[in-house]
């Protein structure tokens, strides 16, 4: 068994019994896409909602709108069935309160989550489980064997399985 780690802006792909993980998500969102029959899946570690807001787009995996089609392509190339793909998502927290900051009172975490949901929907992929928002960091581990996404909540030392 190998554990593959998706760093910020990366997409990792594997097949059972591999495990996919993403460490210390703050406002970032982790998207686990998988085919439960072939047990093939990917994990994307998305930093920002839309690539169109930026002049320089360096990695497809960094933005929700470009990461999702790319993750689908990679997962299908690995042998997953496009029609069976489903998703579990986690992350999108708001680590700081952000009070009184002039035009930057934007909450990246919730914009990320919103964008991920919208782009998954546009691509016809159902979200079967999620754990998003709130104000703590998360480390996630996705087991391709069981299709369980385990979430360790930062300072709180709690583990949740979805």
């Amino acid at each position: 068994m190998t554990t593959l780690t998706a760093r910020i802006g990366e997409i990792v792909v594997g097949r059972a019994p591999d495990e996919l993980e993403a460490l210390a998500l703050g406002s970032c969102v982790a998207i686990a896409l998988y085919d439960p029959v072939n047990k093939i899946g990917s994990l994307s570690h998305v930093l920002l909602p839309e690539s169109s807001n930026y002049k320089v787009v360096d990695k497809a995996g960094k933005y929700a709108d470009t990461a999702i089609p790319e993750a689908i392509r990679l997962t299908v190339a690995k042998g997953a069935n496009r029609e069976r793909l489903r998703a579990k998502i986690a992350g999108g927290a708001k680590m700081f309160e952000m009070t009184g900051v002039n035009r930057l009172t934007v909450d990246v975490g919730s914009r990320n989550v919103e964008s991920v949901r919208r782009h998954l929907k546009e691509n016809g992929i159902p979200i079967v489980a999620d754990d998003t928002g709130q104000n703590f960091g998360r480390t996630v581990n996705f087991s391709l064997e069981t299709a369980v996404l385990s979430i360790r909540m930062g300072a709180r030392k709690q583990i949740k399985h979805i």
Binding site: A24, L25, G26, L48, Y54, V101, K157
Partner: protein
Amino acid sequence: MRDYEDFTETGFSEMEIEVLQEISNIGVGHAATALSQLLHRRVDMSIPYVEVVNYDKISERLIGSDEAIVSSVLVDTYSVDDPEKMLNFLLIFDDKSSKNVLSILRTGEPPQDLSELDEVSMSIIEETGNILLLHTISAINTFSGTKWFPSAPQQSIDMLGAIIDEIIGRDSGEHTKFLLVECDVFTDEETLKGMILIIPNEGALKLIMTKLYGEDFFEMME
């Protein structure tokens, strides 16, 4: 002589980096004095070290792990003359330093775990961080004639990677490299290690340069 290769990659000129290092030195020096008054003990500091770090390497560089639990205080400042220009200051105390701040400033047993801090302890860390950062900011303003106006401090005690995440994501996704100003502050009995990240947005460093060297500085450089 410092190797400037990394710096020029970021679009900052050598001179800008030197100025940043100098204002950080002045800023953190004032912060150490403030800490010394707050703690009533002698405080020594190291010379601040300015470094450019890629966004996916910051946690590794700072603590060695994305998942390390740290306490952090963020103060955003914006220029009074042009609120579009922002300079953000993030102070990080690692696990040990956070506990040391508490054992110096409050009575009773030091906490076992940063995740179980009570309100008073959290507020002590936040205020200590705020005082250090405000002194840093005020020294930078005095030295360079800029008017960086601080907003209220914001605190987060969590995994370092998650904290950095938010900082990278929220203001401009075009930053892939950050200027890191690291400074160690030592007291007699307990060691505190404070790390300060200074994150200038587009134009912020330019504003400082213009204040220091005059309006025609950038024309002269061209």
